[in-house]
């Protein structure tokens, strides 16, 4: 079967989604990321792997954090970085996606990091670019956010190295979340035996069980004895129609408080992809508490993005 992410030798050519990637490639990325963690602590926080290459961040949808971490990852690999905020640029003047991309190809960019509000945008660009260019999906619509999924499993692996003996709960707005889909694919591919999703029915896609997860609508039952709690952001901007009574009501039922967290294992870790709505999906005391690994997620996210870029720049060799 044709897999647009892999080249003829089965090596990584583009990173578009976790779905469809074999366990071996996920492990290669995670193992490579280990080597990049320490670079941030050195006197010179740079390695010359992407020296002379141009990485172009094309963001059709605003995102400060993801763009910043991709930018810092590319810069620590010594690449030149071009940031294009298309939502405020030519698209508002009527230019099509592929015209925008063609212009950047003409500027000899070597790698595109793409975020778009439409699912499938990164695929479209990957099929359009010449062979020398790699595309990284930095989030497309509700579909996929592969580097977030990878950095989440990297963080889990750092704190809970035995992935084959874990119970993980993903809590919140799964319906609108590309992060949740990428997390589920990454966790199940890496052999995590029990992945749960906890959400109200209105915030769950139909047939989510088919991805190999157990569905819970009640926090008390869902959080019982889990090792990892992955909170999702309530995506107000993607909601149309009354899916929830109110954010206060949501916090009461699905917001992560210490009291609810105490149902999980005593050494459970709490994760959140950011940006957080404090007091909506997560209580401040938990977000800043001793079980929270939310800031390590950000730090590891840079190492994971460096690993993905380094592997793509060498034609998929890890």
């Amino acid at each position: 079967m044709f897999n647009p992410q892999l080249n003829a030798e089965g090596k990584l050519k583009h990173l578009l989604s976790i779905e469809g990637l074999p366990k071996s490639i996920l492990n290669e990325i995670l193992n490579t990321a280990e080597s990049f963690v320490g670079i941030a602590e050195r006197e010179v926080k740079k390695v010359p792997l992407l020296r002379g290459k141009t990485v172009c961040n094309i963001f059709f949808e605003n995102s400060t954090r993801t763009r910043t971490t991709f930018e810092i990852a590319a810069k620590r690999l010594s690449a030149d970085v071009l940031n294009l905020n298309v939502s405020t640029s030519s698209q508002s003047k009527g230019e099509s996606i592929l015209d925008t991309v063609n212009n950047l190809i003409a500027m000899h960019a070597d790698m595109f990091v793409v975020r778009h509000y439409q699912s499938g945008a990164a695929h479209l660009i990957a099929q359009h670019v010449p062979d020398s260019i790699s595309v990284i999906n930095a989030g497309d619509g509700r579909h996929s956010h592969p580097t977030q999924g990878l950095l989440d499993v990297f963080t889990i692996r750092k704190f809970k190295p035995d992935m084959h003996n874990l119970r993980v709960a993903i809590v919140g707005d799964v319906l609108h979340s590309r992060v949740a889909r990428s997390e589920i694919h990454a966790l199940t591919t890496l052999g995590v035996p029990e992945v749960r999703v906890i959400a109200p029915k209105t915030l769950l896609p139909t047939n989510i069980e088919k991805l190999g997860v157990q569905v819970f609508h009640d926090m008390k039952a869902g959080l019982k004895d889990v090792d990892v709690v992955m909170m999702l952001r309530l995506q107000n901007e993607r909601m149309n129609g009354a899916m929830l009574p109110s954010s206060q009501e949501y916090f009461k039922t699905y917001g992560l408080t210490q009291e609810k967290l105490d149902l999980a294992r005593s050494d459970a870790i709490v994760m959140h992809p950011g940006p957080m709505n404090r007091g909506v999906e997560i209580d401040s005391a938990v977000a800043d508490g001793s079980q929270s690994v939310i800031l390590p997620q950000v730090t590891y996210g840079i190492a994971v993005r460096m690993a993905v870029m380094a592997i793509l720049a060498s034609g998929g060799q890890a």
Binding site: N27, E28, N31, T32, E34, S35, V37, G38, R42, E43, V44, K46, V47, P48, L49, A310, I311, A313, S314, G315, G316, Q317, A318
Partner: protein
């Protein structure tokens, strides 16, 4: 060709390293062969000398061709490199390109006072103005030949000679 026993070569270079050691010295092994050699030297020296381990894959000039190799190890330099007298340790010296990459990486940790290079075997064929100061043995090889250092499950080191049909253009021991 009768190949030397790497364990004896290690004793040989350890004797050469001993008089060079000062309170300011640090030993740095290059993955993977150089780290095996480093560990044995540390066992023999039995002093609390500063040491570290380098994987120079990110600094290699042939990175685009060969990638990082998935078994690459994170570099680990736990001491302050500034003003240290560093002895780099590798197993086989060939083109000098690994040494160049390792030196470039070291300088990203700080400015050492000096760097010397110690290797088990110099097989000849340097392509850069770099040469080891401490050598266990000089055994010139043809370009299609290469030495491989391996470690068995008991931890014993073995040296083997490999011959390939295509000449290695600029490859030292495979740091995989």
């Amino acid at each position: 060709m009768k190949l030397p026993d790497p364990e004896i070569l290690i004793q040989e270079i350890t004797q050469q390293i001993k008089p060079l050691i000062s309170p300011n010295t640090a030993l740095v092994g290059i993955y993977s062969g150089g780290v095996w050699v480093l560990e044995r030297i540390l066992n023999t020296l039995n002093t609390d000398i500063a040491y570290g381990k380098l994987d120079a894959a990110m600094y290699r000039d042939d990175y685009a061709k060969r990638g990082l190799k998935s078994k690459n190890q994170p570099s680990w330099i736990p001491f302050d490199v500034n003003d240290k007298e560093i002895i780099l340790i590798d197993d086989i010296f060939y083109t000098g390109r690994t040494t160049r990459a390792a030196m470039n990486e070291l300088f990203d940790y700080g400015r050492p006072a000096s760097i010397k290079l110690a290797v088990l075997v110099n097989r000849g064929g340097a392509q850069l103005p770099i040469t080891p100061q401490i050598t266990g043995a000089d055994i010139p090889l043809k370009s299609h030949q290469s030495f491989q250092l391996s470690q068995d499950t008991l931890g014993k080191l073995h040296l083997s000679l490999e011959t390939s049909s295509t000449p290695h253009d600029h490859e030292e021991s495979p740091h995989v």
